[in-house]
């Protein structure tokens, strides 16, 4: 398993990342966790629909997204808010989506991030088509798809991996193996020694990385993206991480896992180790910590306010966003709904 930063913040190898970049990644992870905690509490207050927390997976998501170019494609899932945000998708839209508003799915122009996939596994093949199209168009854009360990059991994982390899598309498959698919442990999801080795069967490289090590994830994903960008084809990355929270706010993990395990993983927290590293290198101070936390809180609160200030959706919008132009039967129904 590739890693650069140990859980205690000591460095295993020379970091291919500057101290300033590390500070940026750390601040981003702090902001992502602020968002995650905010969403959990908003859901408890009844202000959000079901929420899928990513706590514990910040390094995998921020590290991967930090490796992207601004207009690369991203096809991710409901647990990938941090990844989507770091790839340019604003918090306010992510929150709007979770309040139950389709307008939250509308990425800003120039941000090529699809709305998160809610069904499991169907979206990986989209990143194959996206990358394939860019290859045919002759651009150097690539596509990153993120999914969990559970998604690798879906038939669409096989079809996506196979198509990507056969057509040599510029697609990077990022599996965040967080240990559980709702309640099913990774050991019962597949008896394969790892998820990364599944890449062998498709004829593409597969690598395992410490998913709680932001520097390692960034390094591995950057390399995979550059390979794809330069015509070297797809690859699979398995980021080993852990879902600290429940599957969603509707889940109770005490029914299927030992909470001691979550405690052990908290010792391998992706933020703590970077903070320790920065402290040791003189790149961290309490004052700076407070500053980035305050900035994160301010930005997340602003995003919440913006999302909640969206005017209620009209009945008409439900009809007008189905097709380029509403069909005649839809126009008639729009009239009925407006009555």
């Amino acid at each position: 398993m590739f890693s650069l930063i140990n859980a205690d913040g000591t460095v295993r190898d020379r970091l291919p990342i500057t101290m300033e970049e590390m500070r940026g990644l750390y601040a981003d992870m702090v902001e992502a966790r602020t968002y995650d905690h905010k969403c959990m509490s908003m859901q408890r207050q009844g202000r959000l629909a079901t929420y899928a927390p990513f706590e514990g997976q910040e390094a995998a998501q921020i590290g991967a997204a930090a490796a992207l170019m601004p207009d690369d494609w991203v096809a991710a899932t409901y647990r990938d808010a941090a990844l989507m945000w770091r790839a340019g998708y604003p918090w306010r839209l992510l929150i709007a989506g979770r309040t139950g508003d389709e307008r939250g799915g509308q990425a800003p122009e120039g941000v090529n991030v699809l709305p998160p996939s809610i069904t499991v596994g169907g979206h990986m093949i989209h990143a194959v088509g996206l990358g394939w199209a860019e290859m045919l168009k002759g651009t150097d854009r690539v596509a990153l798809t993120s999914f969990g360990d559970g998604a690798t059991s879906e038939g669409d994982f096989h079809e996506a991996m196979n198509f990507a390899a056969v057509f040599h598309t510029p697609t990077v498959f990022l599996c965040q193996n967080n240990g559980f698919a709702i309640s099913l442990p990774r050991s019962e999801q597949t008896i394969s020694e790892s998820i990364a080795i599944k890449a062998d069967g498709y004829g593409m490289p597969g690598v395992q990385v410490d998913g709680n090590d932001v520097a390692a994830v960034l390094t591995v994903v950057r390399e995979a993206l550059e390979t794809a960008r330069s015509g070297g084809g797809p690859s699979l990355i398995e980021a080993i991480t852990y879902r600290i929270g429940p599957h969603t706010t509707a889940d109770d993990p005490t029914r299927y896992r030992d909470e001691g395990e979550a405690g052990e993983w908290q010792e391998r927290d992706p933020l703590t180790r970077v903070r320790a590293l920065l402290e040791r290198a003189g790149g961290w101070s309490q004052e700076w910590q407070e500053e980035i936390e305050a900035a994160a809180t301010r930005r997340v609160e602003e995003a919440v306010a913006e999302a909640e200030a969206l005017p209620p959706p009209t009945a008409e919008e439900m009809f007008t966003r189905m097709y380029d132009e509403p069909t005649a039967p839809l126009r008639a129904q729009m009239g009925e709904a407006g009555r």
Partner: protein, 325 residues
């Protein structure tokens, strides 16, 4: 202008589309080297190259899912699934992704792709090769479902489907591929997705059908005309969105309607058409709307096809019952 059958018209339309628009790319199983199981893409790989007419691995969900990604990224993919009975592995891609992306991204991302699928029975094919399950697709919001029954419509509707900014499931009646011929302009032209085609005008009874069943419906209309009846025939070229106005106008005119389809009767589109008619033309009706459809059985193998497929006699008998009511 040249006289072509329906299969040749489709081949010509795909050739024209590949020629006219670089964004068009064809993908499917065996469509390149062999020209497809029905030879609809015959010769196109040699002419347009293997990057634009792509033989894919055997994976329907992969074909549609990859085409979907391509469409979002600005291409105009035309995917082929070999038979409607093989399309179900791709059903999740269609219902969960293809038909929803405009809605779930509030117009930011769209999927202008075409999924071409041969459908219907009557050629004595193997199991799963004769299905008419169009209603399970017409039920999906966000998807258009188009069915040509003439060579001219095959060309015009396919070019329209490729131009359409939204996803189109394009169903091709297998039994008619080589059974109908007509003069079709070689020009680039489109037929409008939506309106029914009035196949023949009449005043006493309306027969409504689509796809391969147009053939039996047409023969039934001729038989009825021989007995002095004036018969209107509608070809529902678009199953979704359904042309309520065109259907209702004809029902109001004749007051008697028979819907003919090959798909099982239960929850088939005949039910939707009958419902639309009773909602908008009940007081013009002189008889209950009748359905002549496939039975609610699995589509049978070769030796029983005759027991299953609506026949000219069944259509004539239903129309006569309606006329006598």
């Amino acid at each position: 202008m040249s006289e072509v059958n329906l299969a040749q018209a489709l081949n010509g339309a795909l050739d024209t589309a590949l020629e006219a628009d670089d964004r068009v790319i064809l993908l499917g199983e065996d469509i390149g080297r062999t020209g497809g199981v029905f030879r609809i893409t015959d010769g196109l790989r040699d002419k347009h190259g293997e990057d634009r007419v792509v033989d894919t691995p055997v994976a329907e969900s992969g074909i549609v899912g990859a085409a979907f990604g391509m469409a979002i990224a600005g291409l105009r993919p035309v995917a082929e699934i070999q038979f409607l009975g093989f399309s179900y592995p791709a059903y999740d891609q269609i219902i969960s992704h293809v038909a929803r992306i405009r809605n779930r991204s509030n117009h930011r991302f769209t999927a202008p792709l075409v999924i071409r699928v041969p459908f219907g029975g009557g050629i004595g094919a193997a199991e799963h090769h004769s299905e008419s399950t169009e209603s399970i697709y017409a039920h999906i919001p966000g998807l258009k479902v188009v069915v040509p029954s003439t060579p001219s419509d095959a060309r015009g509707l396919l070019l329209a489907a490729i131009e359409d900014p939204d996803p189109v499931l394009f169903l091709e009646p297998i039994r008619l591929y080589r059974a109908v011929r007509e003069e079709v302009p070689d020009l680039y032209f489109t037929a409008e997705i939506g309106p029914v085609r009035v196949e023949r005008e009449g005043n006493d009874v309306t027969l409504i059908s689509w796809g391969a069943m147009i053939k039996e419906t047409r023969a039934a209309a001729s038989a009825l005309e021989e007995t002095g009846r004036s018969v209107e025939v509608l070809d529902v070229r678009t199953l979704s969105p359904l042309d309520h106005d065109g259907i209702v106008a004809s029902a109001r005119k004749t007051g008697r309607v028979v819907v003919v389809h090959e798909a099982p009767r239960h929850a088939g589109l005949g039910a939707e058409i009958a419902a639309v008619i009773q909602e908008h033309a009940l007081y013009s009706l002189l008889a209950p709307v009748k359905r002549v459809a496939g039975w609610d059985t699995v589509f049978p193998l070769k030796r029983s096809e005759g027991h299953y497929l609506p026949s000219v006699d069944r259509i004539v008998a239903a129309a006569e019952e309606t006329l006598e009511a």
